[in-house]
């Protein structure tokens, strides 16, 4: 594939207006729901990570045999999991 095919074509005024209108519409109608769904998945992933890595943290939830079996699936998520769990949170984070 040539470089010119990869590069996004510059948008004209009409294209920009269309993009802005689509963005506003999506933001009003769906963005909050998408982020809420992502957040729900995040809490489930926290649970998964805690179950998987619990014995390594000193909280044995499932036997290490199963933890080791699941470990390859958990390892890629460790960095972002740590970042989210260590982040300071309080009630004002729950507004939306």
């Amino acid at each position: 594939m040539t470089e010119s095919n990869d590069a996004p074509k510059p948008k004209g005024r009409g294209g920009k207006i269309k993009e802005a209108a689509k963005g506003v519409f999506y933001g009003m109608a769906a963005h909050g729901h998408v982020t809420a769904a992502l957040r729900t998945r995040m809490y489930l992933e926290h649970l998964f990570m805690f179950i998987t890595l619990g014995d390594m943290l000193g909280v044995p939830v499932i036997p290490p045999y199963y933890s080791l079996k699941i470990l390859p699936y958990a390892v890629p998520n460790i960095k972002s999991w740590k970042q989210r769990v260590f982040r300071e949170r309080d009630f004002t984070d729950q507004v939306f």
């Binding site: 993009e19 963005g23 506003v24 769904a37 970042q83 309080d90 004002t92």
Partner: protein, 607 residues
């Protein structure tokens, strides 16, 4: 002949023009000279990108999200009370409040959170005022949520009672939401198809609402029963998983809610032109001439002798649309974490708030074209609907008055119900955060906390007059705004940026709202005192039927006393919070004078 001066047209154009100056003039100046935002500076969305909470989002998407999150019933019903003092002071507050304070708070809260690594207001309050400050904020927010809930439950019940077609239509939207949730997440149907099906059900439910109006036959007990029904629906919304109920319902509700505002603004702009001819084309004529009928004012005291003086009451009666503390929580809670570049904060935070001002303007205009008789006693919550029908009938004349009335009545309920569902959920989460451990751990349980978070507001809703609750709601909301502006000011002081542009609005809001809380609490206190001196009229005036009769006089006195207690607590917690923030500001200024120069951008420009 086109008559510009006696119609709302001129005021729509003037307000839009001044909001334009606020955004492109004052807003850009503050952005450049106070916050010194830079597109090159990394935002938390990039620094901590995790694809869940932190990720960059286009400014258009974020503007839509921010606007949708802040626009609710506040800007619609606030002007109903505010117009008591004449439409001119109400309009000036909607313009001036937003011009100098409203957008500044939303934008400043967003920038503050961005500069503080995407942290929300709780941790920032902790940093500026210590652990007690945060506990204060928590207590204040809990009371604030109860008052919001009471106000909105009372209004939902009143709307169902006033518009018989709206209950079936509301149930239709809720069922459509449930159906859409199942189709989206279980059947995995295409979102456009789901939207089409959902909207078809919404339209059908409006027609069904008109065909099968529901009127309760319990007289003065209608409102308590409707309020209970509202509480049951809100309970389900708070405890069910959000994708199942709240999300799809809010998504569907978005369409009629925003369509209504656009229709009203269009109708207001067209008012002088109905029946006029342009280039051989004659526009339809309004059934009755549409003109401003309410007096311009200003009235320094409520002419009906109920609310009190224009200051501070007007400034808390019209909250959202001029300035609202709720917005600072939204700005710092999620939008700041997704801001792509710093310079987007002005269009997203400031732009969304100025747009919400237009929502308040649309509502004020809907009231301006009505006769003053609509506002006697302030019990006619149907006024907005009557104004909206008046403004839109010339171009929606094909639809009958019952359909338009049901549609606009449903819009009011949607605005209240969707936000209240989120507020109840938030209360439950705050309760879980506060009481999940310790002696009161039972209040951390999701069912118990939801019942408490709806039960207390229900009791307030069915006992207090809604305008009395509204002023408490406005007072608490505006006070939160003042506190948020003080947090912003402290940050600016610490970074050696100019502070007077936020300090003056912050002090004004705190003083005004504390005065409003004192006035309102004093009114209830005076009522109890008058009762002790054999004057029942004040006590009975502050409560709603059936309690406002001599048969329930002791209940009425007790309710007045409870409102005294609520007002006192709100005032005390708010004052304590304000004192902490002023102390923190003073010490920040002292430190600033003692330290080497820096800047709001962390000293980048100096470096």
């Amino acid at each position: 002949m086109v008559d510009i001066l006696s119609t709302p047209f001129l005021w729509v154009v003037v307000t839009i023009g001044l909001y334009g100056v606020a955004y492109w003039g004052y807003g850009k100046w503050i952005d450049r000279n106070v916050w010194r935002s830079s597109a090159k500076k990394a935002t938390p969305a990039h620094m901590y990108m995790d694809g869940v909470e932190y990720f960059p989002v286009s400014r258009y998407v974020l503007w839509g999200y921010q606007f949708k999150s802040i626009a609710a019933l506040g800007p619609i019903l606030g002007p109903f009370i505010g117009i008591t003092f004449g439409w001119l002071p109400a309009l000036l507050w909607i313009i001036g409040g937003n011009f100098f304070i409203g957008w500044l708070q939303d934008y400043g809260a967003m920038m503050l959170s961005v500069r503080k690594e995407g942290r929300s207001f709780g941790p920032i309050t902790y940093e500026f005022t210590g652990a007690r400050g945060r506990t204060n904020l928590l207590a204040f927010v809990l009371f604030y949520l109860i008052i919001i809930s009471a106000t909105f439950i009372a209004l939902i019940a009143s709307f169902w009672n006033a518009f018989p077609g709206t209950f079936v239509a509301t149930v239709g939207i809720l069922l459509a939401g449930l159906l859409c949730g199942q189709l989206l997440y279980r059947v995995k149907m295409n979102v456009f198809a789901v939207t089409g099906i959902g909207l078809a059900v919404v339209v059908l439910s409006i027609y069904l609402g008109v065909a099968f109006p529901i009127t309760l036959g319990f007289g003065v007990w209608n409102i308590p029963i409707w309020a209970f029904v509202a509480a049951v629906i809100l309970y389900a919304a708070a405890v069910l998983p959000t994708p199942m109920f709240v999300q799809p319902t809010n998504y569907l509700a978005f369409y009629p809610a925003y369509a209504a505002i656009l229709l009203i603004l269009f109708g207001a702009l067209m008012t002088p032109f109905w029946g006029a001819s342009f280039l051989g084309l004659t526009l339809p004529r309004a059934p009755t001439p549409i003109s401003i009928q309410m007096p311009a004012g200003p009235f320094w005291f409520d002419p009906q002798g109920i609310l009190g003086p224009i200051w501070p009451i007007l400034f808390v009666a019209i909250a959202c649309g001029a300035i609202s503390g709720w917005h600072s929580l939204v700005s710092s809670s999620s939008s700041a974490k997704q801001l792509d570049i710093e310079t987007d904060a002005l269009p997203v935070g400031g732009g969304a708030m100025l747009s919400e001002g237009l929502l308040a303007l649309a509502s004020l205009i809907a009231y301006m074209v009505l006769a003053p008789s609509f506002f006697v006693g302030r019990t006619n919550v149907a006024a907005w609907v009557a104004g909206a029908v008046t403004l839109t009938t010339p171009f929606l004349g094909g639809l009958t008055a019952p359909i338009l009335t049901t549609f606009f009545g449903l819009v009011l309920i949607i605005y209240a119900l969707t936000v209240q569902a989120l507020v109840t959920r938030f209360f439950r989460l705050v309760a879980a955060e506060s009481w999940s451990e310790g002696r009161f751990h039972v209040f951390g349980n999701k069912h118990v906390s939801t019942v408490v978070g709806l039960g207390i507001p229900w009791a307030f809703a069915v006992s207090g007059s809604w305008w009395a609750l509204w002023l408490y709601f406005g007072g608490a909301n505006q006070l939160l705004a003042g506190l948020a502006i003080m947090l912003i000011t402290i940050h600016l002081a610490r970074t050696r940026a100019p502070t007077r542009f936020s300090l003056i609005p912050g002090v004004f809001m705190i003083v005004t709202t504390l005065a409003a809380l004192v006035w309102q609490t004093g009114t209830f206190l005076y009522s109890v005192w008058a009762y002790l001196n054999n004057d029942n009229s004040w006590v009975l005036r502050n409560v709603r039927p059936p309690i406002n009769t001599k048969d329930y006089i002791l209940v009425a006195v007790a309710i007045n006393a409870v409102f005294v207690a609520v007002g006192t607590v709100l005032f005390a917690v708010g004052l304590s919070m304000a004192v902490r923030l002023f102390r923190s500001y003073r010490s920040s200024m002292a430190e600033r004078r003692a330290r080497a120069p820096a800047a709001a951008d962390g000293g980048e420009r100096e470096r």
